[in-house]
Amino acid sequence: MFTEAFMIRAFLAALFLCPLCALLGVFVTARRMSFFSETIAHGALTGVAIGIWMGMTELTIPVIGFGLLVAMAIIWLKENTELMTDTIMALLLAGSISLGIFILSLVKGGYLGQVHSYLFGDILAVEDRDVVVSGILFAVVAVSVFMNLNVLTLISAHEDLAHVCGVNVRRVNYLFVLALTVTVAVSIQLLGIMLVTSLVVIPPAAARNVSCNLRQQIVYSLLIGVIGGLGGIALSYHFNAPCGATIAMSCISLFLLTLVIRLFTRKRNANQPLLPS
């Protein structure tokens, strides 16, 4: 498994992208933004369609570009209309998928393989350049998150309180959305449009089961992201299955394991529930 170059590339990309998604996921779930990353991911289909339609060989750029466009549209509609956030997301999700399908219908054949690999994730699609991009993205985003952990935590707790504490809430929110959008867009190659959000949501949810504070949740989420990601790649190789599905499945297995641990430890500490009923 480790002698083949494409597997080493896939493992390296997973080693960078999975913990990154899991780290951002702690704040995404805390801020009820899961559906936000789902919408950006589905917007990527239009990015893929535009890229194929225009005959581009490198689709990461249109995927990131359209992802950012969808993210900006969500923020603009939130700030300038009375619509509820979930309505806005559903609107853009339907809009971008329909646009993507429409554009694909204009293309004359030969694109199904590419679309399939973007929809479900493909370890064979990861190239050297993707590994480098993942590595740089990991370094930049992870370092930025850890350097601004106070600010991110405070905003997740209460935006107005963060403002009074001197945080430029608007700027941090925009930067967080930018980081999330680019991370999701880059991760799509490995995880696929359909399941990329699983790596943003499941590791922090699993970590929550076995954590007593935020520090533990961050550490466990990173660990679960790495183990789930690498395990998923190995399963994908073994069963010749799309790696988006195998990574999501291994993350869900870890979630179930932490759930069992939680139920077991809670039973033993019945008098000290983690949360009130």
Binding site: V26, T29, A30, R31, R32, F146, M147, L149, N150, V151, T153, L154, S156, A157, H158, D160, L161, H163, V164, C165, G166, P204, A205, R208, S211, C212, N213, L214, R215, Q216, Q217, I218, L274, L275, P276
Partner: protein, 262 residues
Amino acid sequence: MTCECHSHNPDPGPVPAIEVSGLKVSFGGQPVLKGVNMKVPKGSVVALIGPNGSGKTTLLRCLLGLQEPAQGQVKIFGESNLQRVMPRIGYVPQKLALERSFILSVREFLSLRLSQSRNWFWHSRKWSDDALRSTMAEIGVEPLLDRPIAALSGGQLQRVLIAFSLLKAPDLLLLDEPTAGVDSPGEDTFYDLITKVHKHHGMTVVLVSHDLSMVYRHASWVYALNGTICCEGSPEEVMNAESLKQAYGIHVSPYQHHHHVH
């Protein structure tokens, strides 16, 4: 609304803690604040009361620089650039709308206020214990330190939020509906704590509330808001003002709740 009970405000001194002049805010063409004027003297404990929809929250947001007024000015400690005075303000919000999946502990939350430059993630327990010790003792949050914030009761959360705001020794403490969701004995304990904190630190305290009864025991001066400051004075004067009864409707009877006046 006519002013019927404007008493002589204690001299706010050369530079009042809060000075609001001609403040107007509208939402969708609907005026919410219609020209608010107030001067809060330094070191006082004042209450800002008003029924729902009277503009309390909007005024509070203006004081915190979260809402741009259409007209008028807010000065805090003589400074109209509110961003500059933010470090001197302690803000106690109503609640933290934390997701249950976000397991921020009290210790981690308080550590956020200890120093923006240092990152709470790398703090040791001992470091945070040392840094938080005096505030913990004063507010009595020590037993709560390792509990998740989302698991606290209303009263416990209020204590933690006060401890958070006191860590930077503010000159002005703004409390938004501080006892909403706190039971009656908890309410008394809470206001006793505010009184103690005020005595100890001598900062200016502004309590924003729709609860008329609480002003009796804890505020030295009351502003009643209903689009404008319709009435201000000592708690006794404000409670008996006809305009206040109009603002709240005819069923106002604060005496039912408390029998003694400080």
